[in-house]
Each structure stands twice: as structure tokens, then as C-alpha cells.
């Protein structure tokens, strides 16, 4: 008997069909971009420009000397209008650089590595770091740091995550399909940086076209003997790094540990393409593909959007329609609802969803009926209803004994709960309380 049940939970996959076939289209840049100095896990950057300065695309506008940080760059050419605290899509106010777009799209001279084949891993990593690449699937961990595992870790496999299980989202799917060569090129450098002999591109089986494109790209790049494309059954949870490592290699990352603890380096597919651009072109992360969808969007699709473009501008460009009661950054399962649509697109914006009440199907909470569906779907074997009971009625400290800190907020328990209990919200609160007490 398997201790952790793994089964496909049918999510609202139909919503993907709108955008999965929508080719990546550039979105017109706005007149103003707002570039937060923190779009990643780690230290925020210090402003590197002053009001009135002229910048070109790719100019550094914020950086820090800390190890875990990511440089941010101008995504339009123009003049710095302001440096001030600004609403951030992850919540709160974050210092940001506001640039007035002059519409000329002038680029800086990009620092290209002459022959990356002959560059050392450290030189490759500095190129990734200079380009401000972060984990683009949502976590936002600085990629150069992730590509620098502790020296004693013996990485034998790189996993490229092309699962994208979230309903609605198809940005990664389109990246893998339309930029497969870039992805495989990025993979080559990643394997070099972490010194891994083998790589697996894990593709969810509903993206067969992307898998085929990647397979061709692997063959063209002559990586056939070291990299393989693997189709995996549909499974929303397998998009999560630790679950994917388990599904692909049968290895479990220890609680609180990292993929390198089990010899794995895992990277998201869009991030991998960004690594290629950073190394081949010296190109910083100043734009990204975002799925814009939901009942409130007239022309849903995958748009190439400059970092710093406001959600309002995006929705104006794609057309607003219908009755929208929430706008989400990310997917519907793990995304974040936005209070203020002035917030900018950042490096981790996988999607912008304008959802109608009918789509989100929220209901009012009633007492738990103890059906244990939450227990059955939890991909890591937690007892979500029990965690909620402990946090709400008893002592959150007891919840630590039931591994509440391991919850990665995938949302499955909440999704299936027939009593509409906000499980993720309560568990998140409990984790917060625990961390504060132990801090």
C-alpha cells in the first residue's frame, strides 16, 4: 500500500484550452513602468539610479551586495520619474523605481561572454546573476544561488520542470513549445554549472507538442545521450518541486531540505530559457511570458510583457469584459488575489487571472464534516483538517508535531473541501504564528 496517495485530482483543466494554443504575443509597453527592487527571495536591491536619470533597457536600476539577491533592470528606455514605495503584487509596499517610457526601446550594450563553452561554472553563474534571473514559476529564488549547490553535494540529475499543473496557466507550455532550443541550451549550461551527467525534462502528458519540440531540440543540440524528455501523467501536485523529484526519481527531499540533498538540481522551464539568454546574449530578465485569462478577459492568451507593467495596463490591452470580482497573480490554486491593480508584473508573474464569481465558485464556510477528503488529496500526507483544528481551537504548537511547517500551500485540501473551510489560509496563519514564536 502506498502511504502517500497519488492520484490525479481533476482541476478545472478546461480553462487551459483557451490559452494553451495561444502563441506568445508581445504586449505593448506602457508609458510608465514600476520596477520593484525586490521581486525575489532574499535581500532587496538598493536603488542604483536617481530621479531624472536616463536609462536604457537593461540598465541596472537596483542591486545588492548580498549573496541571496537578484539584480533588477530597466525594462524600457526613458527617464527615472520616481524612486518610492509602491504596492507590490506579493502584498505590502516595496521600494520601486518608476520609469517614464520614451518609446524608443534603446538597449544597453549587453555584456556577452565570448565563448561560453570555455567559460568556467563561476563565470556562467556570474552571467546568470548579472541578468537578475530568478525562479520564474513563482518562488523567485535567485537562480545563480540555486545553481551553486554546496560543494559536497553530488548532483547526478538536472530536472527541468515542464509540468505547469495550475489550471489556466500555459506560459511554460508555450515557452517549451516555441523556445525549445533556448530551453535545451539553458539546460546545457545548467548541467555544466552543477556538474550533472544526466538531465530529465519532465513534461505533463497534456503538453505532447511541447515534449516533441523539446525532444527535437535535445537531438539537435547533440544532448541525446545525456538528456531525456519524460512524459508524466497529469497530476497538479507533481508540478511542485519536491513532489516532482519523488515522481521522477523516487527520491524524497528530507523535510526542510533541498533538492541538492538528494543529488538533484531542479529548474523551471522558463527560468531555463532565461539562463540561456543570460549566457548567450547577456540579456537580463526584463520581460516574461504571462498567461492572461479568466472570464473577465476578452482576448485570453500568452503575452510577452515588460517587467513593471501594471496589471491595469495589461487588462486594458487584452480587453476587460464581464463581471470580475477578483484578480489573481499566478494560478487559481496558489496565486495571490490583488487588492490594487496598479501593482506591476514582476519576474514571478506566471499569470494574471480576472475571475468572475461563477468561475471561482466560492461558498460560505460550514462546520467541518470530517470527510477526510483533505487528508486523501494532500500530496505530502498531512492531515489538513487536524492542523486547522489545532490552530483554531487548540494550540498551534501541537500542529508542529503534525508537520504543519511542511505544508507547501498547494491548495488541494481547500479545493476539495465540501465545507468550504479556508484550510490554506488557516494553515498559513498557523505556520506564521509558529515561526514568530520560534524566531
Amino acid at each position: 500500500m502506498k502511504l502517500i496517495q497519488r492520484r490525479h485530482i481533476p482541476l478545472l483543466s478546461a480553462h487551459k484550452d483557451h490559452t494553451a494554443s495561444a502563441a506568445i504575443t508581445p504586449l505593448a509597453a506602457p508609458e510608465l513602468v514600476v520596477i520593484p527592487l525586490r521581486q525575489h527571495i532574499g535581500e532587496a536591491g538598493e536603488p542604483a539610479v536617481a530621479i531624472g536619470d536616463r536609462v536604457r533597457i537593461g540598465d541596472v536600476v537596483g542591486e545588492s551586495a548580498a549573496r541571496v539577491t537578484a539584480t533588477v533592470h530597466a525594462s524600457v528606455s526613458g527617464r527615472i520619474r520616481d524612486v518610492k514605495d509602491y504596492p507590490h503584487p506579493l502584498g505590502g509596499l516595496v521600494p520601486a523605481v518608476v520609469i517614464e517610457n520614451d518609446g524608443r526601446d534603446e538597449w544597453v550594450d549587453l555584456p556577452v561572454i565570448g565563448e561560453p563553452e570555455h567559460a568556467t561554472p563561476d563565470e556562467l553563474r556570474s552571467a546568470v546573476r548579472r541578468a537578475g534571473v530568478v525562479g520564474m514559476a513563482g518562488a523567485g529564488f535567485p537562480t545563480a544561488v540555486k545553481l551553486d549547490p554546496p560543494p559536497d553535494s553530488d548532483i547526478d540529475t538536472v530536472i527541468i520542470n515542464v509540468m505547469e499543473g495550475e489550471p489556466y496557466l500555459s506560459a511554460d507550455h508555450r515557452m517549451a513549445l516555441e523556445h525549445s532550443d533556448e530551453v535545451v541550451d539553458g539546460l546545457r549550461w545548467i548541467m555544466k554549472m552543477v556538474d550533472a551527467p544526466h538531465a530529465i525534462l519532465a513534461v505533463e502528458s497534456d503538453k505532447e507538442d511541447a515534449a516533441a519540440a523539446l525532444e527535437r531540440a535535445v537531438a539537435t543540440a547533440g544532448l541525446g545521450s545525456r538528456a531525456e524528455v519524460r512524459l508524466l501523467p497529469r497530476d497538479y501536485a507533481a508540478g511542485a518541486e519536491k513532489i516532482l523529484v519523488e515522481v521522477v526519481l523516487g527520491r524524497e527531499i528530507p523535510s526542510g531540505g533541498f533538492p541538492y540533498d538528494v543529488g538533484v538540481e531542479s529548474q523551471n522551464v522558463s527560468t531555463t530559457a532565461a539562463v540561456s539568454r543570460a549566457i548567450r546574449l547577456g540579456s537580463p530578465l526584463v520581460e516574461r511570458v504571462v498567461t492572461v485569462a479568466g472570464d473577465g478577459v476578452e482576448r485570453p492568451g500568452n503575452y510577452l510583457i515588460r517587467i513593471g507593467t501594471s496589471f491595469d495596463h495589461v487588462l486594458d490591452e487584452v480587453g476587460r469584459t464581464g463581471d470580475v470580482d477578483r484578480v489573481i497573480m499566478g494560478g487559481p490554486m496558489m496565486g495571490i488575489a490583488q487588492a490594487d491593480l496598479a501593482v506591476p508584473v514582476i519576474k514571478t508573474t506566471t499569470g494574471i487571472l480576472a475571475m468572475s464569481p461563477a468561475e471561482s465558485r466560492q461558498g460560505s464556510e460550514v462546520p467541518c464534516i470530517h470527510c477526510a477528503w483533505c487528508v486523501e488529496v494532500c500530496p505530502i500526507g498531512l492531515m489538513p483538517y487536524l492542523l486547522v483544528d489545532l490552530v483554531r481551537f487548540l494550540d498551534p504548537r501541537d500542529a508542529a508535531a503534525y508537520n504543519i511547517l511542511d505544508c507547501f500551500e498547494c491548495g488541494l485540501c481547500d479545493f476539495v473541501c465540501p465545507a468550504n473551510i479556508p484550510l490554506v489560509d488557516v494553515i498559513r496563519g498557523g505556520k506564521h504564528t509558529l515561526r514568530e514564536r520560534t524566531a
Binding site: I4, P167, G250, E252, D325, L353, E359, G381, M383, V416
Partner: protein, 303 residues
């Protein structure tokens, strides 16, 4: 814009849906029983049990200043299960009181430390009724004549009668075939899982064999099928993990069957279920799933 926590979508299977589907799955067996034992002798009790359960819950909710939720179907299911577990010709007043006690007292006030109902309300009410009204409860009509329950008689009905329900017994518990169909429907809908019913049925067979009896008879006798699919599967009062459910189903079946066989009370199941319920909160705390990345790593072949 609404700023709520993720996830921002939900599945459609809501609590009212779950409850009304369970109600519907029980109806065929209930209707058969009402028809077989005669509506005059049975319909009033079933209706009274439901009415008692629904009314008592509404009253309690009113006085505790909570939203009235009786239309979510839960007290209807409780009342129906109780009504089906009563013998024909029992006074409807007793059924009404039983329904009221089930939701108004047991469901509401006999709770765990986190406010969850501890005992299966219908079964606890049935146990109470039995201890108060021992004689009318256990006197089941056979072929329209009042007499001792067939379980207590030396020559029981044949397997055929037991399978199709043409035998004496409680109003809605005799027709194995309709109950099995109802249970199968709920499993197909994903509302109940197979673990508890399977463990329960295995538990009945094992107990029967240990006591040197005919296991097929014991599977079809009394309220075994009803209990396995509709009563021990009550989510609130049964454990949450698969191993916990196996243990719970098996142990409850053992206790229930033992009591039923050795005491000749047809309410053995009810008492066994209530005893099993008491262990549920404890099982839930102790029999948990292994959490990813903790404890002993399981060996698994990669995909």
C-alpha cells in the same frame, strides 16, 4: 476586488450535495421497507424520526444563535437512518423523540475537544431508545404477527429472503440488495470510500467464524449491510486515514457482531458503532499518514 486566500477555485461537491446524495442513496431501501412492512405501520415512524431530527437541530441552532442549516440535508440523513433502524409498529412518538435526541442532544453536545460530534447521532439515539423501550424495540413482527426477532429464533429466513429483504427486521435494514446498490452509488460518486465497508464486512465474517457460525448468514442478517455502508462510513465519527479506517471498520464489526450474536439484541450494531466512535478521535491523533520527507523513506520505483 475581493482579496481572499488561495485557492481561488473550488470543486462543486459541497456539503449539501454530499448529504442529499446520501439521503437519496438510502431512499430505495427505505421505500422498500415501508412498502413491505406496510405504510401504516412504518411511514409514521420514519417521518417522525426525520421531523424530530430536523426540528431539534433547527431549534438548537436558533437558540445558539447560529445560522439555521437544516436544509443542508444532514439532519434529514440522521433522521432517515434512525427511522430505518426502528422496528415496524413502534410508536411514532418514540421515533420523534429519538430523532430529536439524535440531533438536538447527541450531535450538538456530545462532542470532542474541537467541537466535533463524537457519536453517530442516529446510532446513539437508537441505543438510548432501546434501553428505555426495550420491549417495543426488540419485538419485531414476523409475517405480520408480532413475535421475537428472527435473529433470536432458531430457524431464520433463507438467504434469498435475506438478500432481497423479505424477512422480519427493522424497517429499512432488511433489503441487502438495495442497500448494496445505494452504497455502490455513493462509492462511485466518491462520497464514501471502500475502506471502512470492506473492513467492516471482513470483521463480521471473522467474528462469525470465530463464534462458529455461518458467515453468510451474519453478513445478511440484522443491520450488517446498512451499518457497513451507511453508518460506520459516517465521516464525522469515523477515522480519517486509510489505516485508521481499516482498523476502525474491523474492530467495530467485531464488537457489533459479538454483541448482536451473544446478547440477542438486534441493536448490537448500534452499540458496537457507538463504542467504535469513542475511539475515533484517538485513532485520528495516533494513526496518521507518514509525511513526505520525514520518517522512514519509502522505496518506490520511479515513473
Amino acid at each position: 476586488m475581493k482579496v481572499t486566500s488561495s485557492p481561488h477555485v473550488r470543486r462543486l461537491l459541497s456539503k449539501p450535495r454530499v448529504m442529499w446524495e446520501a439521503f437519496g442513496a438510502l431512499l430505495p431501501a427505505a421505500i422498500f421497507g415501508i412498502w413491505y412492512f406496510g405504510p401504516i405501520d412504518t411511514l409514521p415512524q420514519v417521518v417522525a424520526a426525520i421531523a424530530g431530527a430536523v426540528a431539534a437541530q433547527a431549534i438548537v441552532e436558533r437558540f445558539r444563535h447560529r445560522p439555521i442549516t437544516v436544509m443542508d440535508g444532514a439532519p434529514w440523513v440522521t433522521g432517515l437512518i434512525l427511522g430505518m433502524s426502528l422496528p415496524p409498529a413502534l410508536s411514532p412518538l418514540i421515533a420523534l423523540a429519538g430523532g430529536a435526541v439524535a440531533t438536538g442532544v447527541i450531535k450538538e453536545f456530545v462532542t470532542t475537544s474541537t467541537g466535533r460530534t463524537l457519536l453517530n447521532p442516529a446510532m446513539a439515539a437508537r441505543v438510548l431508545i432501546v434501553s428505555e423501550f426495550l420491549v417495543p424495540m426488540t419485538t419485531f413482527p414476523v409475517d405480520g404477527v408480532s413475535g421475537a426477532t428472527p435473529l433470536a429464533s432458531a430457524t431464520g429466513p433463507g438467504y434469498f429472503d435475506m438478500f432481497f429483504g423479505t424477512r422480519g427486521g427493522s424497517i429499512g435494514e432488511t433489503t441487502a440488495v438495495l442497500l448494496l446498490l445505494g452504497g455502490a452509488y455513493l462509492m462511485w460518486r466518491g462520497i464514501i470510500r471502500w475502506h471502512i465497508p470492506a473492513a467492516y464486512l471482513v470483521g463480521v465474517v471473522v467474528t462469525s467464524l470465530i463464534l462458529g457460525r455461518d458467515p453468510l448468514f451474519d453478513l445478511l442478517a440484522g443491520a450488517t449491510i446498512m451499518t457497513a455502508f451507511f453508518i460506520v462510513t459516517d465521516p464525522t465519527t469515523s477515522p480519517a486515514t486509510v489505516p485508521g479506517r481499516f482498523g476502525f471498520g474491523f474492530a467495530t464489526a467485531g464488537i457489533a457482531t459479538f454483541i448482536r450474536i451473544t446478547t440477542l439484541f438486534p441493536t448490537g450494531e448500534a452499540l458496537g458503532v457507538v463504542l467504535g466512535n469513542i475511539a475515533t478521535p484517538f485513532i485520528d491523533r495516533v494513526v496518521t499518514n507518514r509525511v513526505y520527507g520525514t520518517g522512514k523513506r519509502r522505496e518506490r520505483k520511479p515513473a
